[in-house]
Symmetry: C2
Subunit: 247 residues, 2 copies
Amino acid sequence: MPATPAWPPRSAPRLFVAGPLAEGAAIVLEGNPAHYLAKVMRVSPGDAVILCDDLTGEWASRVASVGKREVELDVAERLRAREAVPDLWLCPALLKKDRFDLVLEKATELGVAEIHPVVTRRCVADKLNPERARALSVEAAEQCARTALPVLTGPVPLAALLRDWPTGRTLFFADEHGGDAAAAAFAARPGPAALLIGPEGGFDEAERAAIRALPLASPISLGPRILRGETAAITAISVWMAAAGDW
Amino acid sequence: MPATPAWPPRSAPRLFVAGPLAEGAAIVLEGNPAHYLAKVMRVSPGDAVILCDDLTGEWASRVASVGKREVELDVAERLRAREAVPDLWLCPALLKKDRFDLVLEKATELGVAEIHPVVTRRCVADKLNPERARALSVEAAEQCARTALPVLTGPVPLAALLRDWPTGRTLFFADEHGGDAAAAAFAARPGPAALLIGPEGGFDEAERAAIRALPLASPISLGPRILRGETAAITAISVWMAAAGDW
C-alpha cells in the first residue's frame, strides 16, 4: 500500500500574515499577498497554503475562494509552534541599498533575533524604508521555512545606541584595529549578545573610543583580510552561531 | 612639519593585470582595464595606479600616457608580496546566476584558495561562463585589496570530483540529514580541507551515499535552520576560517 500522501505538500505556498492564527479561523488576504497567491502561484479552492504569524507558529490552510481582489483561506491544523531563536542582535551600520538588503536577508536566514540598524559617521546611507526592509526579511523567512521573524527597528545614530545600551548584553564589535579572535571571544562570553558592524571604511576614532568606553563592549577580529560591510555582518553571525548559538 | 604624504594614495585605482610585474616594467593596458582607468577613473599622466598580478604581489605604478584605446603604466616599487591564503577549497554546487555570483564574490573576499564548482542532480544550472566568473572574482579581490586570487576551475560533475579526489584533503560536506557541528569538526581535522555545498534541495540519496563512501569525507551540520545554497557556502567558509584557518 502506498503511504498516505503528506498534507500540506512541501511545495505549498508559504506566507506570513497578521495573526494570531487559530484553528477554524477564516483569513482574508488582499493586496500583494492575494496577488501572489492568485496570479503568481495560481491557487484554486481546496489548494493548500502554509501560514505563519510570527506569534503562534505555522499552520496549514485551504483556499476557500479566489476573488478578483481577495483570497480567502480556512485555517486547518497547526504544523509547528513558533521556533525559538538564539538571543543574538545584529547592529549593522547602514550600507548601500543592495548590500544592506543582503544583510537583512542573511541575518533573517541565519536566525538573528533582533536587527537594530545604526547610522555612523562614515555611512553613505542614513535612511531605511521600513516597509521594504520588513518585506525583504519576511521573504527570506518564507523561503527558508522559518516560523520566526527578527524584530527590526528603524536606524538610530551610534551615540543613541550606546547611550541606551541594555544591561547584561555583550556588544561585540568588529574592530579593524584588532581584537580577540571572534570564535574565542564569543565562546568566552556566552549569553545575550549583539554584533556591531561598521560601514565601509569602519568606525572613526571618536566612535571607536565611544564604543570601547562601554563596559559591555568586546572588540573582535574577523581575520586578516579586509571584508566588505555586508560580508563582515554575515561572517560574524555565522561564527557566533557556531561558537555560542544553537548549532 | 607635515608628514610626507603616503604614495600611492589609498584611493588609487587597483587592478589585476597579466604578470609577472617587475620594477621598471612598462605595462600597456587595452580593452576594459584601459576604459576603466581612462573613462571611469579619469586618470592623467603621473597618477598612481596599484597593480597586482596574482604572482609577485602588489606594485605601485604611474600613468605614463593615456591614449584613445590604451593606457601605459610605468611600474615603480613593490608594495607587498603576494599574500598567503589558508589551504581551503570550496566545491559549491552551481546555483542560479545571481546566487552563484555571490558565492564567487564572497569566497574570494574570505580568502578561499581554490574554487571548484560542481554539478549535482538537483542543480538548476549546469553551465558557468568562465570569463564572467573570473571577472567577478577579480573585482572582489580588487575591492578588498587582496593580492591573491582563488584558482577557479570549470564545473565538474560530482562523480568526477569524487573519483579524482586528492589524497590528504578532508572533504567536509554540508549534510542536511545531520553531521558533526561544523566548528568542532573543522578543529578536529586541521590541514588541507574542502567544503562541498549542495544546491537548493540538497544532495539526493545516491549522491549522499557516494560522498560518504569517500574515506576523507566528513559530514557537517550548519545548524538547525534551512540555509539557501549561497548562504551555506559563505557560512561554512566563515566558520572554517575562524576554527581552522588563519583568523
